[in-house]
Point group: C2
Chain length 354, copies 2
């Protein structure tokens, strides 16, 4: 039998698979999911679509309806928008346009692990600038590195997962003026923050913004995201995007959610309020350093992360242990949940830190 | 404003976008869709899932349930299966494992246009061996080319879209013995044919098979496909596959369809019967050469494709004009529809060929 891995590129073989260890839980605060569900009338609308629409026919080729609604929702042009199965799919495509062996991808770390995997799978060199603190992006070192290395692609997650750090508009503009690489701003969590980035895109055609329905819109189960960019960039992304990538159910759900965006506003406000409360209360606990966050999660440092994670897990509260990530020694990440979930989390947390 | 295309790889800029010209129709026979819908009880099951399942939670990380059912369905091992948004997504990932600038992708043409686009977007060189006739794959020239060029990846669509040609097992085994490239067998249409290919995969670990729910299972609207390979290859595909790529609705639909596969058997048989009838009747029309097909479509050549396409379109019957593809001069492709749709197609066809 021939070796099935013989022709597989060596950088792929070297990537370690992303594995998720399943843990039992009663309160799930480990994946930055939104604990509020879509309103029943939206679910009922979608159930009707599932019953009535013939399954055998391909979805819309252009997803025109959804792109139009996204344009109205965001204030960007419809021909500057494309949709995918989560923003990850679109991020992958945007980077694939630019990266290959010998090209450079710049990241500010620690950040969402997928950017690195996408870079590696395209055989790119990864340049990492690490955060100096989690209150702001490391401006000076970032600009120096861009000047010295001229990376072909740059990805910034803002608010950043898992640190919660937001990039401010001034810094984004300085970066855009300095680089001619493709700048991807991943705004998965932007609805929980204040900055939207659309104005910068009007001036800088090499800025690409990705967003998702998984967080603020509480639709992680449906996998839908969108990418906004200069229409010329969208044309290139659409060339490598697979035709009919998003199924009819997801398209219809996303349209229905946008039509009823007002239903999602209060849950978002509630989560922001709970994040502030959690931050305040955690700040007062001895032995915990909690970092400010513009997202629906909080990063915090304890003396013994394994012990705190274990104590929470024993009580059925599942959070994310990120302490093995370089720069995140003894750090844990907790998603903002429903009020009573956050309450229980706080109470077990207080008991578990000595 | 900076040029947003400056860093985009030149081979991407050169790809011409895949566009679909929308035509009005009353009978749609242009996309190899299955005209039978899923049974109502399956649709009702899925509608319940849409209502009851919280949308805000991510889908299964491993799609274990679906892979297990696919293993039972196909006779392959569950750890040798991975699922995606249509088989296209998985085909793209499998080729991405192997291809980059300087690597070769071998195709037998004319075939499904996407393979070439995937190859080009990975900066690979495309080697094309053209069909000598549409009754069989061009065995001798194919083997000679493989020996001379040692391509890193080979894709065969069998039954081939749009020619309907099947690769026989003997030829597939000869190819597998000769090459150590990754061989992808796209079996999107296999349920309408006789050959399943699982046995060859047991002996040849560098054979990868992709399949879809879009054709025989009448679920093109839901976008679900799967890839079968040696578990070591699956491990590599899963490294570059995005986590949570398939949403919960699609996963649940695919499981429900497999649980009730017997409901899909009669429609498949009906389509095969209709294909045979169409082939017979079209063979008897003067001025038409129809090619044998193992799929749910037929390729045929007329004296003036534009004229025949236009005449059908005028009567609201939409088929696919493939006559601009090299090797398919004056050829058209018709999907096998419902009996009365095929009847109308035949009757307009007869009038339109002189």
């Amino acid at each position: 039998m021939k070796d099935p891995l013989k022709k597989i590129r060596p950088e792929i073989l070297k990537i370690s698979a992303y594995l998720l260890k399943p843990h039992p839980y009663s309160i799930k605060l480990n994946q930055n999911e939104n604990p509020f569900d879509a309103p029943d009338f939206i679910k009922e609308q979608l159930a009707m679509k599932v019953l009535q629409r013939p399954w055998g026919r391909y979805p819309d080729f252009y997803a025109t309806g959804l792109c139009q609604k996204l344009a109205t929702h965001t204030g960007w042009v419809p021909e500057g928008i494309t949709v995918g199965n989560g923003s990850n799919e679109l991020l992958q495509l945007a980077l694939h346009l630019v990266l290959e062996r010998g090209k450079k991808l710049l990241l500010v770390t620690p950040t969402f692990a997928l950017y690195r995997i996408i870079g590696l799978s395209n055989a790119a060199s990864i340049l990492e600038v690490s955060f100096e603190n989690f209150h702001e992006f490391p401006g000076r070192r970032l600009l120096e590195t861009i000047e010295r290395e001229s990376p072909e692609a740059l990805v910034f997650c803002s608010p950043n997962n898992p640190t919660g750090t937001s990039m401010d508009e001034g810094m984004l503009r300085q970066i855009l003026e300095l680089t001619d690489g493709l700048v991807v701003l991943d705004q998965a969590y932007h609805e929980f923050s204040e900055y939207h980035g659309i104005e910068a895109m009007k001036i800088h055609a090499h800025l690409v913004i990705t967003r998702t329905f998984s967080k603020a819109m509480a639709a992680a189960g449906l996998r839908v995201g969108y990418l906004m960019a200069h229409p010329e960039v969208i044309r290139q992304v659409n060339k490598v995007k697979l035709p009919y990538n998003v199924n009819f159910v997801t398209l219809a759900a996303a349209e229905a959610m946008l039509d009823n965006f007002s239903s999602f506003v209060r849950p978002i406000q509630e989560l922001v309020k709970e994040r502030r409360r959690l931050y305040r209360e955690m700040s007062e606990i001895d032995g915990i350093e909690v970092f400010p966050s513009q997202a629906n999660f909080l990063l915090f440092r304890v003396r013994d992360a394994a012990r705190v994670f274990g104590a929470l897990q024993q009580k059925g509260i599942l959070i994310r242990d990120v302490s093995s990530t370089p720069g995140l020694e003894n750090c844990l990440r907790v998603t903002v949940g429903l009020s009573h979930e956050n309450e229980q989390f706080l109470s077990v947390l207080k008991e578990s830190v000595p």
